[in-house]
Symmetry: D3
Subunit: 253 residues, 6 copies
């Protein structure tokens, strides 16, 4: 079910059903940030949305929340169109999403993440949320899981098989391909120079732009195609369903 | 242009162009909250998104940011599927969106809002942002405008003409109709009882549910249809383009 | 009762009495900000204080808290003497006032407001307070109401009758007149130019000063007099008593 | 000048004058909290207001801001009528007052305090404000001073001379007397038992009420009279004027 | 017991034992800040640590937490090596320490402080912590006490006896001597000019450096010696044990 | 140099010297938390302190700040003696440390970390700090680096060579051994059951205790010895010096 295209009685009925996934919800989460000369600014939130929505078509019991589309992208702010939350803001917003979903009886919240730069802040937020319980010695109502879509079992391996050279870590051909499969009428091209972008550390926005002038890190996105993107999506769907099912079935100590 | 389906060089070129709307951006903003027995949970963020995206098809120079899809909906939290930010979180998030967009050279940010419950917090946020400048005696880089889609010139009048009885103020036939036009395969029906929902004050979530058992306030959404929704959208498009153009053209003192 | 001129046993006795207003308290709330060439900086907190204290003389069962005298006035900061809280600070302070009054058994808190610029932040604060309850699914101990003094039944109409032209929206002859009635030895005069001030949008402080050079918006305060102010006060007193009585008597669902 | 009973041009003229006190402002600051069986809840903000306003009648160049009437009184919350800010809220509010007054050109802000329980938080706030400058290595625009009214030169000695026994530290006969002089029609009496209240540490509200059942600490307020209060006020006036003048005249290194 | 050199079962056993100090813990707390030409930057956290650890060797039942080594030192930031928390950060950190220690069953937390500049913020923090209980009308799990090491009974008197002239208030010979006793291989010398440093008010960092060019206030630290430091430590040990024992034995009302 | 055992002129001279490491500072950072039946509660802050202080003896130009001894340990709060900061508090404190050190001219700050649970929050803090610069488009004064001591080149490999079985991830024999080398008189023993602790996910404190009853994760700390700890320290010293030297020498783009 796509939560935002459902009515509240439909959600209510599902949460209170006997379905194995009844009390589990997926939140696609990403970032809106530059992805090199040709990548869509929405790449990092579109990828988990594309995969989650595709999976929901396969298994209608999957509950998909609206997409959390702005994340932690301070290092990309020197490129037009990037929108970033400060980590402290990001933490507050995730906390309120969790409190809302937990309020309705979702006992397991699974964040399907599309942006590596989100990971530290999301994990810090989980600790912030758990701390409220840990300080008073109670069990939380809800448990939380973070999964990057490329870390779904088998997916990273497939990406590297398809793109053995120039995969890189930002504006990768994998993520570009997934968005090309999702938005084939938005495929863009450019002359990349160099073909494979440089690597280096990530710090503030001006440092980033000085190191990575067109925005890419280590990648050659020219290799992307909608067809390759579809292969990745097709691999991710069953991996996601298996992963979320295991999460929903996990017995707590 | 849809910002999230563009690359950063495309956005950069547009901001630095001579187009009248070059330095102006529209942020569709709403809420994900119950909309009665048949309304989509996403209604309040889908409506401004539907209207803004439709307007962009008419005038490709309109710059549409990703949709800010979670707002201030604490009073709806007793209905499954509602996701709310606390006002303080909402303020922090809007502030970071504004800082990001301002960073790129957008000098005018126009929030096209779909949720009445957002208004107070958005306006308080504008003051919070302006205060940083007012305390030090400088002019802000960016000016901000809030417009509810139903307050676009002529739209509210049209809605009342179409639905002279039972329009109400939550889960209105107008907003339901707009989403039906946008998502015709998601039209839902129910036996409303009473046909026109009651009115009353809005406080906390349990008070709300006690007053408005199915979530509606004063409305009879059974009157909605995709065709009526399309009429509203068609009226909103030119009104939005005119309104944003006037905002972009305003000369500051 | 004026709370600050009472002892704690007196307040304790009143709260625990059978008086219809025993568990209801009025908080006069306003702002300290410029009010044009002749208006007192305290106008916006003096008006609700004057009206509330006058009403208390009529009905001694009214419980009047100390006046909350600094509000949200960032847009007036380019004029000397203005003191403003940031919206976030204002929210925190109101929250602590409410928590304190609620702690003592006041179940209904009525904010009699004297500043239009406060409205958005006060309403956002109410939502912030209610959200604590809505997230956990409990009923709050206290319900909250905001009423601008000019919105007391009949008052705005009277003001417009007295000042049919040049009432405006800031440094209005109505509010100036009320303070003249309260502080007749502080009546000030000036040559207003133009006689009726301009109108326009409200943004940051420098923008405000550029648009409204002497601080007024749309008003001609030369029309004010202590006598007219007393007429407004005399109309506001019964309206306030009726309004607070209805609030106190409201049965919750 | 009483700031709130002045217009902005009057304040503007004074700040830009050559008067020795032109750029100095006094903020009466206190608390609204229980003061034993007979003391006014407003005692701690009324005392500095009474003294400051009396001093202003002696020397019209004194600039008196509105009274900051709610402070840090968490320990009194078990007594009806007490209103308290959390220290963190109190800090935020003082910070905004200082930023506002500094914005207009006041270079020295003098807090005339009426509540011992405020001292730690006010001093912490001064450090919080200064820290913004210290971290970046600039000089602040404004310097800050805290003075309890009883610490004005000679005042505490006078209080102890008048009340050599049973002065105590809360609901003292001195502060009660000052409010009696200011509000002679609000003098209240009670049979105090014991005549002199006990002493002890101050912690949370319930601990406080258990230790000090009627709210007093170490005091016998029955000794207070309006005449004695007037003597204290009369001594405080020249002491305040001398103290603020020295503060205004202090040459910074 | 030194908490950080113990295992959790050891701490658990002690808390649950019948020892009179079982549920009491000492937190040495100070600051890392300049202490004149010869004083160690760590002086203010080393002194309470030295005294507390020495006392623990005398009475092994004393429970000593790790040292809270960074405090409120904004005024020293113009001297290299100073590290300061903002008061608001300091408050948050103390709050979390208290919550953690309280969580394990420590019912009394005793802060042995080494920095006068910490006092206001620590006391404000105690009020912030207590306020959470006072607003809801419950008793806190833990009571808190602040003691400066020089205020331990008899210690200040001894210091003044040893250093009757030039004791001063920052970089005092007493505190320098205590660190010399603790770290005799780190004794430093300098030609102080003037021999006794000036006195004056404390504000921001640049003001401080202008008033106190080498960092000292009113002191002549050349008088310090390891032997004198040891005398102070030897006096502080029994005073600390007596003070903490009285605190642990205090019966709450 | 150990910063806290130096005077400010010594630090000032070093920062302004030509030494390659003059403007670089190491902050040992860890956590105070349970480390199984025998591990010291201070293990995670003692390890980086032991290594950093040992390295400073080898190369006196290394500048070592005081140890940041409390980190993010919410998941260990069900074991006595654990002290944790909330992530948001941890972020604020690190931010103030960075601002202080940066204020003095340290241009590179290297956090030598001893606790895996700190990593996410420290990285989020770096982003929070950088964001202040990224939003305004300036370069930060200081760059930041996080290095876990076991990730120093060659160290993790050595640990696994010494402890090929039962190394685990919490209360590892490596970290226990390092503290045994540092505090050989505090070596503790216990009968571990099971010998090698279980593995599993980390969530809140009660979940943690249910999964890992004695606190260990996957480890057999009985293998630790002071000698093995010294081998690890000896390997870490040159690795740290090389790593910090490379960091200090890095040329920014």
């Amino acid at each position: 079910m796509l939560l935002h295209l459902s009515s509240w009685p439909e959600i209510d009925a599902q949460i209170n059903s006997d379905a194995p996934l009844a009390k589990t919800v997926i939140v696609p989460i990403g970032s809106n940030e530059q992805h090199g000369p040709t990548g869509l600014l929405g790449t990092d939130w579109l990828c988990p949305e594309i995969i989650a929505h595709a999976a929901e078509k396969t298994d209608g019991d999957l509950m998909i929340a609206p997409t959390f589309n702005i994340g932690m992208a301070q290092h990309h702010l020197a490129f037009a169109g990037t929108i970033s939350l400060r980590p402290s803001t990001f933490m507050a917003a995730i906390t309120d999403w969790v409190a809302s979903l937990s309020r309705h009886g979702f006992e397991r919240i699974y964040f399907l993440n599309g942006h590596g730069g989100n990971v530290a802040t999301i994990e810090a937020t989980f600790s912030e949320i758990y701390a409220d319980w840990s300080f008073i010695g109670d069990r939380p109502d809800t448990i939380l899981k973070l999964r990057n879509w490329w870390d779904l079992p088998g997916v990273q391996k497939l990406c590297e098989d398809i793109f053995p050279v120039g995969h890189g870590s930002h504006a990768t051909p994998s993520e570009i391909a997934v968005t090309q499969a999702g938005y084939p009428d938005r495929v863009k091209t450019a002359d990349y120079s160099p073909r494979i972008a440089p690597n280096g550390p990530i710090r503030d926005a001006l440092d980033y732009r000085a190191r990575f002038p067109d925005g890419r890190i280590g990648s050659d996105p020219a290799q992307a195609s909608p067809e390759k993107g579809q292969r990745i999506i097709d691999a991710a769907i069953p991996a996601l369903i298996a992963d979320i099912s295991a999460f929903a079935a996990e017995v707590l100590p």
